[in-house]
Subunit: 245 residues, 2 copies
DNA sequence: CGGCAAATTGACTCCACTCAAAGGAGGTGG
DNA sequence: CCACCTCCTTTGAGTGGAGTCAATTTGCCG
């Protein structure tokens, strides 16, 4: 269990600053958005920075007691369910600054699983402390409602009966948008998840994802090398995302 | 526009009680669950009872400013989107005690539409007032988080790549469960929505819904007369819901 | 009764799944 | 360092289930 978690959590003075929300580049996309001054300071005291997760490590599993929510600091995480037949169902992928765990407030027990797809780290917050604090800081309460509302919006809007190409194009556009908002390139990024995971998420067979990708590559819309993907023709991609092939 | 809304909202003394949360049979499924005494009284003051909605009347439309959430008192409502091609996409159906509007907190503007499918009525609550009050009543804040979390859970879990029969069976079971919790029969209820709406919601063609229904009727699993449906063999229905046909 | 919309039924098509096999990438141990 | 193994990905061929188109029946409301 030897790892440099301590170094990350409590860096040793000089040069490297302590990682606080106020210094975090993701703060404005994350929980403390619209918080400042004393409010931000109080909020920061609730944050516990965990040691990095290795690929395959779980943040939580279905059945675990719900106590905390997690703000993703780095890496890519996957939420999934195991259905009554033992089949895995990918719910969503999560990128830095996104917050996971809200689906477990109701019932007090996690219903989904969350696993790291690559090396990544999260900030951990006891939900009871966050909600207590929210009663004293309206902006924080608003922020919590806003995040959950946003999640509901996303889930409601995703529902849609599209063809395979359209679904995949929408998926790429979603990733592109989210990456670029976080300061990464909108046109070249890493697909941290396997084709199988993508397929499962999009409710397609993994072979179909391969074929879609092949079609898009042959038309010069995207290029791939290993897990890297480039969007060479975002306009064409957008057309597919809108009106199918 | 002549209707007896007034009678429903402000009944005239004798016999019929004023409709307050404390006297509402749906209270424990609705927003004021776990509230009592003075807290419940303060909460009730925020509630505004609207006049009944006629079929086809909108509670809100996409683009409307978001100010209030609605607790459904009676009737069946439908949430839907209009996509970029002008196609309607049914998000969900809502039964009494369910609360709609949470998806509009983020952005402050409604993204979905909500329409009455039959005669029904709702309680209206200004969200800003509710959230202000929630800061003083922890149980109310918890309740709000709980309801939104529950909604997220439901939306996450529904995602699934099933066959037509399985999807329809799951739909019937969901309605059955919800109706029975509300004191209605679990085995006989009204499908307030059209076949087209059901099909749209389940992401099927309406013809497919007809065929599924035909198959189930011919096997004695359900019976229909007009919009009424009876579940004659819930066990068989459950098998279909679990493992497909 | 008449007219219109919703629901059903039938015939045909097509897209995505399944099954199957080959090609690559990464990891392990000798 | 290479051989081997395994898992992931890609590619191909054939099938099936749901969609589409079209015609008919049923129910609804004036």
């Amino acid at each position: 269990m030897k790892c440099d978690a301590k170094v990350l959590s409590f860096p040793v003075g000089q040069g490297m600053a302590r990682l606080t929300c106020s210094r975090c580049s993701l703060a404005e996309l994350c929980l403390p958005d619209h918080l400042a001054g004393a409010d931000l300071a109080r909020m920061e005291q609730l944050v516990e920075r965990s040691k990095p997760n290795r690929p395959g490590q779980h943040l939580y599993r279905a059945g675990d007691a719900f106590n905390e929510i997690f703000a993703i600091r780095s890496g890519c995480y996957k939420s999934y369910l195991i259905d009554e037949n033992g089949e895995e169902k990918v719910i969503d992928f999560h990128l830095p600054s996104e917050i996971v765990g809200f689906d477990a407030i109701h019932g007090g027990v996690h219903v989904s699983n969350c696993i790291a797809l690559d090396i990544g780290s999260v900030c951990t917050l006891k939900f009871s402390e966050v909600s207590d604090l929210a009663r004293h800081i309206p902006a924080l309460q608003n922020r919590l409602f806003d995040i959950m509302s946003h999640r509901i919006q996303d889930l409601e809007i995703v529902r849609g009966n599209h063809g395979a190409d359209q679904r995949f194009a929408l998926f790429l556009e979603s990733l592109s948008r989210r990456y670029s908002r976080r300061g990464y390139s909108a046109h070249e990024f890493t697909l941290a998840m396997s084709r199988k995971d993508i397929a499962n998420y999009l409710q397609l067979a993994s072979e179909t994802v391969s074929r879609v990708l092949h079609r898009m590559k042959s038309q010069g819309i995207v290029a791939t090398r290993r897990k890297q993907i480039q969007l060479l023709n975002p306009e064409a991609l957008h057309l597919i995302a809108m009106h199918g092939w």
